[in-house]
Symmetry: C2
Subunit: 291 residues, 2 copies
């Protein structure tokens, strides 16, 4: 298929490369110009999207999606009947519904397809796509999903992909904070961290989140895999969405406060796992490694 890929960040560049590898005709654009082997580089979002069947976005936030679509030289100006816009960013569900309405007014369709998975999964083409779209539209996009991911979960219609993605990241944040609070308590009471982690791995509290983070925590390595400031951004999206539909999320609100303080204290560019160090600091735990 002819695909315009907009946004060559950590995830986007790997996803676009997998589209090229699968033989699709790919044009790319990035805010700060970047090339991608085997792809044509466009000058603007509009020029890149011109003539494409599918326009795939993977950008920073809601404002960036709006800019790419409806800003100067935005995609909207070149949309034609039958084109499909797909958004793999993590953004606001209600803004998504608004963007979709404007895109559909031009005869194109709009799909939200955020992903779960690390940059490794993006590279390997084993992402999970969380999709808000009709079954029919998903079938049409299947060759592209196949090139970049291993699983497509349809969670509903437009906006539901982002809604479900936020609910997933909410759980990532809360599972990790549960681990961090449990570990801090147990450690201060005298339990060795590796004993507790061994125990976790025999039990019903075992999760991929903790399996993934535990070795880094034991090594006191907070190199960013998912930077704290990006998780904080997602937490703000969750709380904004919750406010819009009047849902009260008391635990998430508390986690947000922890992230606020963590960022103020200079942890923003570390992995979000570094929130543990804040708890340890509050508890006066002797930390063996370095921040």
């Amino acid at each position: 298929m002819r695909v315009a890929f907009l946004g060559l960040g950590i995830m986007g560049q790997r996803m676009a490369a997998n589209l090229v590898k699968a033989g699709h005709e790919v044009s790319v654009w990035n805010r700060t110009p970047k090339a991608l082997e085997g792809a044509r580089v466009g000058a603007t979002p509009a020029e890149t999207a011109q003539g494409a069947e599918v326009v795939w976005m993977c950008v920073t936030d809601t404002a960036a999606v709006e800019q790419v679509l409806f800003g100067p030289n935005g995609v909207n100006s070149v949309l034609t009947e039958g084109m499909v816009v797909v958004d793999s960013s993590t953004i606001s569900p209600s803004s998504t519904v608004r963007f979709a309405k404007k895109v559909r007014a031009r005869g194109a369709d709009y799909v939200d397809a955020p992903v779960t998975g690390s940059k490794t999964a993006a590279g390997d083409g084993t992402l999970v796509f969380i999709v808000g779209a009709s079954e029919e539209r998903i079938a049409q996009l299947q060759p592209l999903f196949d090139a970049m991911g291993k699983t497509v979960v349809r969670v509903g219609d437009t906006g539901m992909g982002h809604a479900a993605k936020l609910a997933m990241n909410l759980q990532v944040a809360l599972i990790y904070e549960g681990f961090a609070e449990g570990l801090t308590l147990a450690t201060k009471l005298g339990v060795e961290p590796d004993r507790l982690i061994e125990l976790i791995q025999t039990s019903i509290v075992r999760s991929g989140v903790v399996d993934y983070k535990a070795p880094f925590v034991l090594a006191r390595d907070f190199t960013p895999h998912f930077p704290l400031r990006l998780m904080r951004k997602d937490i703000h999206l969750m709380l904004d969405a919750a406010k819009e539909v009047r849902v009260k999320l008391p635990v998430l609100e508390t986690v947000e406060e922890i992230y606020e303080v963590a960022e103020e204290e200079g942890f923003g560019d570390l992995d979000f796992a570094a929130t543990l160090e804040l708890l340890e600091k509050w508890a006066g735990v002797e930390v063996k490694g370095a921040k």
Copy 2:
């Protein structure tokens, strides 16, 4: 071995039955008199423990352990050199250290060995024991652990079993609240609950906690497997222990508030999964099933 088993609640009766089944010579006692096939029934803790090699407790709380050991007709009066007292209740780590000191003054030893696992695991003899004791003492007790459990994880010395158990239940509570908040948000935004649960099961947020609870949540069945008021009791133990060692647990404090309100609103005898209904109520979600 000659074992006195004190406390025939939901877990204790199944654990003691497995000791009988494995051929051990078992005497039992319960606060409200109860019989157990194949076991001698004692009149008091002291009388039941008299002459036993191991005294195993599985009672309600810290006060109950203290009463059974040091109250009138308590075990302490019959302790002799070489006896071992084991506690599989979930109680305060610091009280455990205090109890152990008094027991050791009589020449006996003290082991904390709380369990993870449901009543089914207690029945099947597949519990996980979280043990604070020396390797040597664990080896001595191995035939009894084998009769009741599938795994023994040594987490440290006396008191560490309870410390680690509290850290585990903390994670159970927080993982579930993460699921409940994520589900409430996604549902109010329009995602079908079973779609979100399907997504969870493909992802790194999958855990035994949610795998176990999700079908009951979808069926709106809050029959108590682990009653909310008992989880609340454990949360108090965690926060008490945290206070003793000056650890600040902001997320757990928020979860405690949710449990306080839930119990005030009459959810205490439901499963702790019913905290979801409180979030839904706050969010004005239409609930299809009944409380």
